[in-house]
Symmetry: C2
Subunit: 251 residues, 2 copies
């Protein structure tokens, strides 16, 4: 089964209070994604129209904006950014120079508590959503109600990693789709029971979507079409991905 990663263009600037599900649904029905082609009666692999079983990936930045999670910073004073980083942290994991690795109240370990200045108006910073799983549920409810399609939603953000250079997009919230798929008890192609068993499909979906969104192109939403139908269930990043302290070897 082929999977398609489809950028959703035409969302435009998002403002505090905006109905994000409404904006996304409108963009999936605009001709922007199907320019020059006649409207398809059924969505094909390239159509931006929502289809049953789509996963809609939404970047944290527009979620935070819609939810009004914006704070003032003084662009001339780096300290004004740092105050918010520390306020959002429950723990400082590592410091080196300007970089602060923190644990957020969600349990995420990331740079600067996820407080981010890019793609935000000068003088402002965006904080992470208070409860990204809930943000995902709200968007999903709005999309399901409007489209009458069973879709999943993943909220993505850009995190660094230990030991590996470069950032990748990962899931910070999800709804209607599994975060981690447990293959325990299944067998590999040679009939041996699998030892690697829990696959974090939500992170793979978030990273895949980044490939069509880019960091600088201003496309905050993508559709991942064709994922395994068995992954559609109640999902939660907080419950499935965030590693409890007692399991964690690196905190």
């Amino acid at each position: 089964m082929t999977i398609s990663l489809i950028p959703v263009e035409g969302i435009g600037e998002v403002q505090p209070g905006d109905d994000l599900a409404g904006l996304i649904f409108a963009a999936t029905r605009s001709p922007a994604g199907t320019a020059g082609r006649p409207p398809a009666s059924t969505p094909n692999s390239g159509s931006v129209e929502l289809a049953e079983g789509d996963v809609v990936v939404v970047t944290q930045k527009v979620v935070s904006k819609a939810e009004g999670r914006l704070v003032k910073v003084d662009p001339a004073d780096p300290r004004s950014h740092k105050v918010h980083v520390e306020a959002e942290a429950v723990r400082i994991i590592r410091r080196r120079g300007d970089l602060i690795m923190t644990e957020t109240r969600h349990g995420f370990v990331c740079a600067n508590s996820g407080v981010d200045l890019s793609n935000v108006d000068s003088g402002w910073a965006a904080l992470l959503p208070v409860d990204p799983d809930r943000s995902a549920r709200r968007i999903r409810d709005g999309l399901v109600a409007r489209s009458s399609k069973n879709v999943g939603v993943v909220i993505s953000d850009t995190f660094g990693r230990a030991w590996r250079r470069g950032v990748t997009d990962v899931a910070i919230g999800c709804a209607g789709v599994a975060a981690v798929v447990d293959l325990r008890g299944t067998r590999d192609a040679l009939g041996r029971e699998l030892t690697v068993t829990e696959v974090c499909v939500a992170d793979e979906i978030a990273g895949a979507a980044e490939l069509v969104m880019g960091k600088s192109t201003g496309i905050p939403v993508a559709i991942v079409r064709g994922v395994n139908p068995s992954w559609f269930r109640d999902g939660s990043v907080r419950k499935e991905i965030v590693r409890p302290h007692q399991e964690d070897l690196f905190r």
Copy 2:
């Protein structure tokens, strides 16, 4: 631009000494991927036939098998596995119970030095390729020569992560495609210079491919079609992704 993730079926069991590029090329020309449809004159978004700008993702397991990186283990004696884990490690990072996090000679930090029993005949374990970037170059050379198409190759493996549950596929080698794309100096959608600048596209490509390969379905190769053409250049996981010790906060 839409990206397609296309599983390549029909590779079959790989044996030591097999010409992996030849096997992959043959599978992309077999009717398995286009069953029931007439052969397309030009590859479309779902065709398994190699096209200019495709990235071919190959799982480590078949690369290790083709390169004969197999060692004997006694299935009744877990110690016989551990001997190889320690032989492949340059450093033990953490131990807890049966889990050993090691640093391999490549600089990867992963469980059990990447020594893996799944999808290998009972009594054997697969070691990581000696030089996965070189393995990728060899496969790429074979595919380019046969197809006359400029394609990239990523070798993927399944790693756990600090702080987050579940495993994801990441890149352990690449050729003909960037591992990390540096966006330094580019601007975000609002014209601000980007602070997050180095995106590990090779890891996002590897994780995306995993979504169509699965852990237990025995599909070791997938095509990622439609990635940004500017990413096609000499790439190296070792040089671009492996984080030098002096930069690393967690080793």
